[in-house]
Symmetry: C2
DNA sequence: GTGGTTGCAAAAAGTTTGCAGGCTC
DNA sequence: GAGCCTGCAAACTTTTTGCAACCAC
């Protein structure tokens, strides 16, 4: 199964005209094996163990290339910088993936989602939020 | 209504033994008036227009104090640094607010949420995700 | 050989911190 | 007046960039 994924990855690279390189293979393998969601630094530390010559800049460049090619997802629901909100009511967000604009949604149905039952019983849920990603009116025109 | 909010804010500060200062008032007013969710930089730019002597460091310190006192919410669903995931399937997240660990949830009910009807019809929704915040088993013990 | 990729180092972007001076109560 | 708060500047963290050398095809 693991080699399946690597094979698929190689195919995906080839079909996009991307060279198959040592750093790429190493970084992608770590992503496959990693439990949880690593940061660039996490991946760098991990990759260093086997390949100390791979640089942090390469990790960043490779991750960016993987995201651009839709082979890896960036888990930063909103965006890269912290934003603030003085509306402390329970509410959800509509996020434009192009201009990054955030709009609040007040919706009662979303405020009463069933709590999933197949999660670790020992995880104490305090809160949740739903984020809709999409493209706003202005960015659709552009 | 706006002065209501300011009055409430002043009360909240007093009840917590926080001084009522010019920068605090100015920054909080901007948060009240701001459409969308500003970053620290956004707030700084805005506050500069009326009060060019207020520094960016003060904006950061004030925001941190507001968040610590639960007067303002930080809109950074996961955390402060970008994380990656090579599981591109539709899934949701369980996030420990203490140790920042992220766990995937696969849950069919969550994959079929009703799209809220009271949002801008011109916003094209591409995807959505649900994030549950809470405290994991390990952090509850600590 | 050609062009895509890498590594290094420097820089940019965002955020935090220490400390002297100033302001609120 | 006491102690909290602010401004400045410097430091720190995370990410990006430029460019020469290198490697895959």
């Amino acid at each position: 199964m693991k080699s399946d994924n690597i094979d698929t990855f190689i195919q995906e690279c080839k079909s996009r005209g991307l060279n198959i390189t040592y750093p790429r293979m190493a970084i992608y393998k770590i992503l496959l094996q990693y439990k949880g969601h690593p940061s660039a630094e996490d991946i760098y530390k991990q990759v260093q163990k086997d390949h100390p010559n791979i640089s942090l800049a390469t990790v960043y460049k490779t991750l960016e290339m993987l995201v651009d090619n839709d082979l890896v997802a960036k888990v930063t629901p909103l965006h890269d910088i912290v934003r603030y909100d003085c509306n402390k009511d329970f509410h959800h967000h509509l996020v434009c993936i192009k201009c990054k604009k955030i709009t609040d949604i007040e919706n009662d149905a979303l405020n009463h989602l069933p709590i999933p039952e197949n999660i670790d019983k020992n995880f104490k849920i305090i809160n949740y939020r739903v984020q809709f990603d999409g493209i706003c009116k202005e960015c659709q025109r552009a």
